[in-house]
């Protein structure tokens, strides 16, 4: 079912103003935390809520916070990951544009929980408007004494800075993000050490996604038990799904985890665009394996999508209809991953290039017998052999397409043309 926690005030144009935000109970959780909760209590509350990271990996947020060493003499940093770049994903932008104070408040609470006095919000460079909305919200919060020195007379100080990137998908990966924030090229770091031990400037750091942080104030206000009662046994709460592609009503929808994919696509999305037949669905952003039409009733939660052979990922549902050539889809995706590979690990740097050439030539009608086996082999040699998940992300949709639509790829090679081909026209 649709359930609006993050999106409760999303349609109120005044929600971006601090006074309106506060009239809706905003910054009450921040005040409560500062005045009456110890950092360890905040972390416990988050663990009890079962909130998992909404950026893609789904790691429990409270657990992540608890990895910060209690006795480190170094400063700690909280970083909000607003580098939203996974193709199909457009939810964090909506939160920053329409409810930026919720993100600020969530960042503040997370910072307090880990003992951080300096928080950064890393916004992808192209998001000039969302970044401006975040800066405005932060300025308003400073002017009310909600950020800065001695907040709510608690003695706690917190500085918050918006940092904009330079258009690199890889910077959504947390260690690449940290390098980028340090002024370096956005290349991933080998783990361990994990950011919780050695993150930003070599200090303990937590990196959380925008959507994860934006719900934190609600968890504090309403309590962990309230939040944990929403969703399924292992997938708690709600999640924003970005619905795009061949669908009548694309958009961002907030659903209770465990809601059926068919409900999102048909009841909310209005069904297939122009009545065409469904061919495939990417359920969690472009790096997640495809689902087939007979899987449309899969519940949207971490476990069910894993059991269906895919992933919840960032919650970006891309709908593909029967007119679409899957070789063309994969060519589009591998071009992206090739472009975005940072070049640090050889399997990813070289492998994505080879994949792009092979898939490109099949799409161009110049495929050769044996190309699919070559693609299989290259995929096997990238998967799990790189220091960050970009290599895996590039390979997963290709392996999935070759498994589910292998005949279509073979047809392309044998007949030097698409099995189905539509030149999609914009209106």
């Amino acid at each position: 079912m649709e359930k609006k926690i993050l999106f409760k005030y999303i349609d109120d144009p005044l929600q971006v103003n601090i006074d309106t935000y506060m009239s809706h109970g905003g910054y009450k959780a921040w005040e409560k935390v500062l005045k009456s909760m110890k950092p360890a209590e905040v972390i416990d509350e988050m663990k009890k809520s079962g909130l998992r990271g909404r950026g893609g990996a789904g790691f429990p947020a409270g657990m992540k916070w608890s990895f910060i060493p209690k006795d480190s003499p170094k400063p700690r940093y909280l970083v909000c990951n607003a580098d939203e770049s996974e193709p199909g994903t457009c939810k964090d932008r909506v939160l920053m544009e329409h409810d930026p104070h919720a993100v600020v408040e969530g960042m503040a609470i997370a910072a307090y929980a880990i003992g951080s006095h300096q928080a950064f919000c890393y916004v992808r460079g192209e998001f000039a408007y969302p970044a401006a909305m975040m800066e405005k919200a932060i300025d308003e919060a400073y002017s009310k004494g909600i950020l800065g020195k001695n907040i709510f007379k608690s003695g706690y100080d917190l500085e918050m800075v918006v940092h904009t990137g330079g258009g690199a998908y890889i910077c959504g990966e947390e260690t690449a993000l940290l390098n980028s924030l340090e002024g370096e090229r956005g290349m991933s770091r080998i783990r361990p050490p994990f950011p919780a031990i050695e993150g930003l400037y070599g200090c303990p750091t937590v990196v959380n996604n925008v959507e994860t942080l934006a719900v934190v104030p609600q968890v504090i206000n309403m309590g962990a038990e309230w939040y944990a009662a929403i969703g399924t046994e292992k997938s708690k709460g709600t999640k924003i799904f970005s619905l795009s592609g061949h669908i009548k009503r694309p958009g961002n929808y907030e659903l209770e985890l465990g809601t059926k994919l068919s409900y999102l696509m048909n009841d909310l999305g209005g069904g297939m665009l122009d009545g065409h037949k469904l061919k495939a669905i990417i359920p969690g952003g472009s790096s997640t394996p495809f689902l087939l039409p007979n899987q449309i009733d899969t519940p949207l939660d971490y476990e069910s999508l894993a059991a269906a052979g895919s992933m919840l990922g960032s919650g970006a549902v891309i709908v593909i209809d029967e007119r679409t050539c899957m070789v063309w889809v994969i060519e589009r995706l591998i071009h992206f991953y090739k472009h975005e590979s940072c070049g640090k690990c050889t399997p990813c740097r070289e492998g994505t290039g080879w994949l792009e050439q092979l898939i490109g030539r099949i799409e161009a009608g110049e495929g050769q017998q044996g190309d699919l086996e070559k693609i299989d082999s290259i995929c096997d040699n990238i998967l799990g052999r790189t220091i960050c998940p970009l290599g895996d992300a590039a390979v997963m949709p290709i392996q999935s397409a070759l498994k589910l639509f292998r005949d279509e790829f073979q047809y392309h090679i044998d007949n030097k043309k698409c099995l189905v081909k539509t030149e999609f026209e914009f209106k």
Binding site: S85, C90, A168, P250, G251, F426
Partner: protein, 166 residues
């Protein structure tokens, strides 16, 4: 100096917000790009001097980030998303339409230096596809009619000699 006083002041005010000044490289590159529309070694030198880091560190970072053009572009940089969600709704036909309207092919600049057309990866506007970014602004749910109107408005702005607000 290429960087104007206002740009230098903004870089300096951003620089002091970080525990380490090197973090200001990306914000400084953004400020420089907004003023000039593209980056160049001369700008890297100026930025290096302001932040007090070696020139090579600025150049090295700049070369990694594809959002900043490294060659001059037109007054309006049109970036059409060609990634999957937009492609499913006709991004390729949008690019062709713009090529025809502007009389250039992708990657080129119009002879009057007003428009440069390129295609880019996903811009996080998937539920409002197809879309394009022109300088800092997103234009979404594009139709032929909308594109015609946008181009006309921008041409008008360019004729009136409005400042380059990337």
């Amino acid at each position: 100096m290429i960087l104007k006083e206002k740009a230098v002041a903004e870089i300096k005010s951003r620089m002091v917000r970080y525990p380490h000044r090197k973090s200001a490289i990306l914000p400084a590159l953004t400020v420089a790009y907004r003023q000039e529309g593209h980056l160049s070694p001369a700008l890297y030198r100026e930025i290096a001097k302001i932040i007090e880091v070696p020139y090579i560190e600025v150049a090295e970072a700049a070369s990694f980030y594809t959002m900043f053009p490294k060659e001059p572009v037109g007054k309006y940089l049109i970036q059409v998303c060609h990634n999957i969600s937009c492609a499913l709704l006709g991004a390729d036909s949008l690019i062709h339409y713009l090529e025809e309207k502007l009389g250039i092919t992708k990657g080129e600049t119009t002879p009057d230096d007003i428009f440069t057309l390129i295609s880019v990866e996903c811009l996080g506007s998937c539920a409002t596809a197809p879309m394009m970014q022109i300088n800092d602004k997103f234009y979404e749910n594009l139709t032929r009619e909308k594109v015609d109107r946008i181009l006309e408005e921008l041409r008008e702005q360019a004729r009136n000699g409005k400042e380059n607000t990337v």
